[in-house]
Symmetry: C2
Subunit: 301 residues, 2 copies
């Protein structure tokens, strides 16, 4: 997986900050997560191919997470896109996007499919043969979901020398990768684990923004490889975090520790902080492997 | 007047282009004209004081002219604005902005007043003691207005020496500036034009975007000091201008000439043009005093 941060600051804009948006590359998919104002330019800057985005996941309908969506949808139309586009987001998103398109007396020349979310428990919202996406119900001022992206189990790796020695017809190699035992050219049953080894362990990524400190998400994000958790504030302003249903760096780290994740990325910083290195200092006291998001930064895992 | 260009390119975004938005300073007003995506950051870059913007004029509801509006309205709220904000724009704008605010479960803590436009003839839409603003009905694919900003007649200038020689009480100086004759300390009537001279001639600015070539606007913009007229294309692509109801540089210059304006500013360039100097070459063949808009550029007149 490769995660590219397009923006990771909270709402009030400054010249060099961008609201929330991320691109996740996972098994040939390019998923866009949230779409604050200016996301289409950030996509251009980071050389993301527009046509490869087929699914957009919107966490909630505060402006800094979706005001760039209608512009992106319109631009796709101007660029004569033909590929279907799926929007996963809170109920209401279809009506308001539709209204904006109608006011411009235009509609897309590609298929625009809305998947409106209303559940307050974690749901499987996308699945194909390689990837699953689940919602992570969050605790914010409006209806909000994080998203859990999971690779499915990888195929087993063929031990080519062993398979040849075992006199197995190449036509069976596909079956072997899928985990089956096969019969060799001499009619003898070959146990799968004698000619293959386990594939790479599947990776997982959890995006959790915006949210108050909420232990109820821990079972859903348990053991993920990478957790992006909002930390709008430092502990000194924890009263503001409580009041606005955001988190502090320490709270994000506490969730990361409880969920036993491998890596924590902090983001959604209030624009009042010029230097975000203090977020790492604060979180590190609770959880070791922590990094901060930054527009243009990529994480590979 | 001082005009600052925040953006002057047509819809499809590139990394270094910005959609339409302008700031007009006129007699202590700061008017915002159109508000494409990213306008709030452009305002910051150009150091425009958010609180001084009390009127926003939206020409039409194609996204590149108003997708930044809801973000700006939201930011004003986050910055705890208390000043009233007036939005002048096509019918429908109130409903769609309201819906977006409702979806975020928020509303402004300042007064947000919509003035929806529906007329197809030029209307006076704002007036105070110093300034008038009129609509300029344009010919585009959706309901569109340009805007004509006119200073009212300036006060006469007092000839201080002459007024003193005429033995006029200072208490009457205000009346003199307003054009009245007054009686001096000796009870003698003093004719106004013997102790004052005409004030600076009032200036005017016409914003015309987006529009097909339309001679019907000529009587409305007659003799303005500065005309901003869209020129999405050069003549080589005039068939696209006709098809999409935009203008070419030559057409914009023709309108400028017919309307006897003093200066023409071209803008709303298609992002297909890397170099816009050709727009000046083409327009100059018809109308001499022509310049091109550029984000961050200011024009004083």
């Amino acid at each position: 997986m490769k995660l590219t941060i397009l923006g990771c600051h909270s709402a009030t804009p400054r010249i060099n900050t961008h609201p929330t948006s991320q691109v996740l590359e996972i098994r040939n998919h390019i998923f866009l997560i949230d779409c604050g104002e200016g996301t289409q330019v950030q996509l251009r800057k980071n050389k993301v191919k527009f046509n490869r985005i087929k699914h957009i996941f919107i966490s909630h309908l505060h402006g800094d997470h979706w005001f760039g969506l209608v512009g992106l949808i319109s631009t796709f139309r101007l660029l004569t896109r033909e590929t279907d586009l799926h929007i996963h987001g809170p109920k209401g998103i279809k009506e308001v996007i539709t209204m904006q398109m109608k006011l411009a007396d235009s509609w897309t020349n590609y298929k625009l499919i809305f998947h409106e979310l209303t559940s307050n428990t974690s749901q499987l919202i996308f699945e194909d043969d390689k990837v699953e996406v689940y919602t992570i119900p969050l605790d914010h001022r409006v209806y909000t979901n994080g998203f859990l992206f999971k690779e499915k189990e990888n195929e087993r790796k063929l031990l080519l020398g062993a398979a040849e020695d075992a006199n197995i017809d190449k036509a069976y190699y596909r079956k072997l990768k899928q985990g089956f035992d096969v019969v060799n050219k001499d009619g003898k049953l070959i146990k799968n684990d004698t000619v293959t080894k386990a594939g790479n362990p599947p990776k997982s990524y959890a995006f959790c923004s915006d949210t108050a400190y909420s232990e109820s998400i821990v079972p859903i994000i348990k053991d993920v490889d990478v957790l992006y958790h909002e930390s709008t504030f430092l502990e000194k302003l924890s009263h503001l975090a409580t009041k606005t249903k955001h988190s502090t760096a320490k709270q994000a780290a506490t969730i990361a520790k409880m969920a036993n994740v491998k890596q924590l990325i902090l983001g959604h910083f209030s624009t009042r902080y010029d230097d975000v290195s203090e977020f790492i200092d604060e979180a590190s006291e609770v959880f070791e492997n922590v990094d901060t998001a930054k527009a243009g930064k990529t994480f590979e895992f």
